[in-house]
Amino acid sequence: MAKFDKDRHQKQLALRYCLAQGYLPCLEVVVNTASDLTSKPEVLTDIDVLGIENIADGTLRRIVFDCKSSNKLGAISRAFWASGLMKYTGADGAFVILGKPAVFNHRISALKVDVDLHDERSFEELGRTIAQDFNTDSCYQASIERWDVAHAAFAKSKWAEDIFALCHYTAPLSLKPEQTFRKILAAIRKNRGDFDPEKDDHVAIVFDIISYMFILWARMGRDLRRIYSPTMRRENFEDALRLYVWGGHESYAIRQAILENSLRAGMAGNAAGDLQEFPAWKRFVSFVGLVISSPDDIFRCAEMCREFSIRQVSPHNADFDEKIKKRFKTNNRLAQFITAATSYVTEACRLPTDLEKKINDQVLTFS
């Protein structure tokens, strides 16, 4: 991706820092305008690296990493800019990696607005306090070159543009996970005729989508755990889940009314049954029932799926594979959640069934 070329080294540092800290890195997250008043969305800026951290039980913390090797803007101005961006996107912290070191007074002042100013050297030292070898190529995600290759694979599939935008730009910053989730499903359904299980690129795309979905589900899982109680009857839970995933009672009621009106206007009755319920509802309820038992692991699945996605289009590396295998061995939920998620997405969006088989087989060889 040509975009990745600017400040490449710093981006890779930020990337590896995230991985060392256990954050999920998202590269080049585009931030759009808050108002929706033009036909094409307008871009305000983009975040070089966004790290997403799971504090506990699905509470997510977002850290912005801004990489600037040029010195056009002074250090403290950069700090104020980052602080504004944080406020705008709802992030919780920011790092700015500059070309030249900033004056220490400025650095401490910047901390007041939750921005940590660094230059490359000090950032590397910070990283080494977490892990001596943080700046090494330790897994598939850790090298920016591989991200380039993965991005090129996505760029080849022009039909996946919408899905790409939703996943990479909206999902990491989304404050309404159930809405973003629905939109991603709609975008996949629209293009389901283009997914070809024979092509590695397409499999990589599916893994990528599922990893972003896990980020959304981490948030949703937290809410759904608050709904669920062991003494609850299944129907009551289902009703609450249905309203939650449709965006609330009024939203759901409006959709039902539209559906009834269309039926009255002559739409075929037997096909309408397909539309009344959330896609693959039964399987969705089972999936939710599965993941609320261990919400922290939902987030970890996102990391794993990202690894798989990049692995799909890069040469295989035995060490990295070993690491993945170890992760799966220590955490028995990963394989369970990932295969359940794949089955759900395949059924909900009517993707080819051998896509599901291929993905699940891959995941299961590691577990």
Binding site: R182, D194, P197, L275
Partner: protein, 424 residues
């Protein structure tokens, strides 16, 4: 091809109905003639007024065109017209019961009617789509149809519900709801994955041996006398597991067995009211196949003879396996079992018109593999045998409801689902 021309014309008309496509000239006429002939076959004298209303309401034949159609049928000697001057008063059907309407009309079409470019293109498209769904680009290249003509045919194909163009695995696939009823998405996906010829080959082997037990086919690697390659075995498993072929099952001796048939025909070849007859015929064929290939002790050597005997005599001699073998037929009320001595049961046919029709279809399916005569609209035939008051009351009642065709366009439904999902 001659008989098929008439069949395809029938199919096309069943989808187009009264929609007027300017590019078509003779083909709709042939289609309407076929529709009319199929429905009046075997009936007595019909009043012209009754025929006019019934054909307009049930068969989609505009009353203006009826005269021309009747003149075609008269030329083929399928009807005799009783006229007073220029007015037609009565129509006397003249089609012997054992004559095939499509053959007669097909012969007429090949000698008298000349199809224009769009019509010929449509016929070859329908012929290909009846075999299996096709990859749009490779089909167009193979058929040599001019691009603009092809595009236009696809356009009115979609309007008439004759075909839909779907994307699967990045390829554009044409599939016809006329000829396939179940899981069209799965079929399109299959063709995208393995190619139309592989699918056609499997379906042809199934057709030659309708009702073959699935487990037997998979384990022995052959259906009847045709051998299945490994890909074909996998394909067969996929078709049955994903609901493109819905095999009826019989439970006996503690196990379940499924019997494979060709995919259920779509709207053109299987009129909705005849679905029940189709299901019963499949149950009959499965039952005798079970007896032929999976019998506990006594094999049925000639399944066709058994069915013929059931039709002619009305019952089958008792045997010990009848209870489990024919259980489905009892459930569907096709027949009932009578115990003559302990453990020995006789199968008696329930003599009702649907069961007789089902038995006829079962015999046809076993003999030729073809599902035939299921496209006839029974309501139309009933209305033709009654008087004007009957048909008038039906027409009047229908006027009150919206007289549009049901919007079953799968594209439209899919877009609707998109909107509902997406909006905030």
């Amino acid at each position: 091809m001659t008989k098929e021309v008439a069949e395809f014309a029938y199919d096309l008309h069943s989808g187009l109905g009264a929609i007027n496509i300017t590019e078509y000239d003779q083909l709709p006429l042939l289609g309407m003639a076929a529709t009319l002939a199929v429905h009046i076959k075997g009936l007595g004298v019909i009043e012209y007024e009754v025929l006019r209303k019934v054909s307009d309401h049930f068969m989609g034949i505009p009353s203006r065109s009826l005269r021309e159609i009747l003149e075609i049928l008269e030329e083929v000697e399928f009807v005799r017209l009783v006229t007073a001057g220029r007015t037609i008063e009565k129509v006397i059907p003249n089609i012997p019961l054992f004559d095939d309407v499509y053959v007669g009309l097909g012969d007429f079409a090949s000698s008298e009617l000349k199809m224009n470019e769009h019509e010929q293109a449509t016929l070859s498209i329908l012929q290909a789509l009846r075999e299996s769904p096709q990859n749009t680009h490779s089909f167009q290249a193979k058929s040599g149809i001019d691009t603009n003509v092809f595009r236009r045919c696809l356009q009115f194909g979609s309007i008439s519900g004759m075909l839909s163009e779907q994307k699967a695995r990045g390829k554009s696939i044409l599939i016809s709801p006329f000829y396939y009823a179940d899981n069209l998405d799965g079929l399109a996906d299959t063709v995208a994955a393995v190619g139309a010829s592989a699918l056609t080959s499997v379906l042809n082997k199934v057709k030659a041996n309708q009702g073959w037990p699935l487990s037997l086919a998979l384990s022995s690697g052959q259906i009847g006398t045709s051998i299945l390659t490994t890909t074909e075995v996998q394909l067969l498993t996929k078709l049955t597991s994903e609901g493109m072929i819905k095999p009826p099952t019989i439970s006996f001796g503690g196990r379940n067995e499924s019997f494979v048939f060709t995919p259920k025909p779509g709207s053109a070849r299987l009129n909705a009211a005849n679905r029940e007859i189709y299901e019963r015929a499949m149950a009959l064929v499965s039952a005798v196949r079970k007896g032929q290939l999976l019998a506990q002790e006594y094999r049925i050597k000639y399944p066709l003879a058994i069915l013929r005997k059931l039709r002619d005599k009305g019952f089958l001699k008792s045997n010990s396996e009848a209870a489990s073998q024919y259980q489905n037929l009892v459930v569907m009320r096709v027949a009932y079992l009578k115990e003559v001595s302990s453990g020995m049961w006789q199968l008696h046919l329930n003599r009702m018109p649907e069961n007789e029709a089902a038995l006829d279809l079962a015999i046809d399916v076993l003999r030729t593999g073809e599902v035939s005569n299921m496209e006839v609209n029974q309501d139309a035939r009933i209305a033709l045998s009654k008087d004007e008051i009957y048909i008038q009351s039906i027409v009047a009642a229908a006027e009150l409801k919206k007289r549009q065709k049901d919007i079953t366009d799968p594209q439209a439904l899919e877009e609707y689902a998109q909107l509902i999902l997406k909006f905030d």
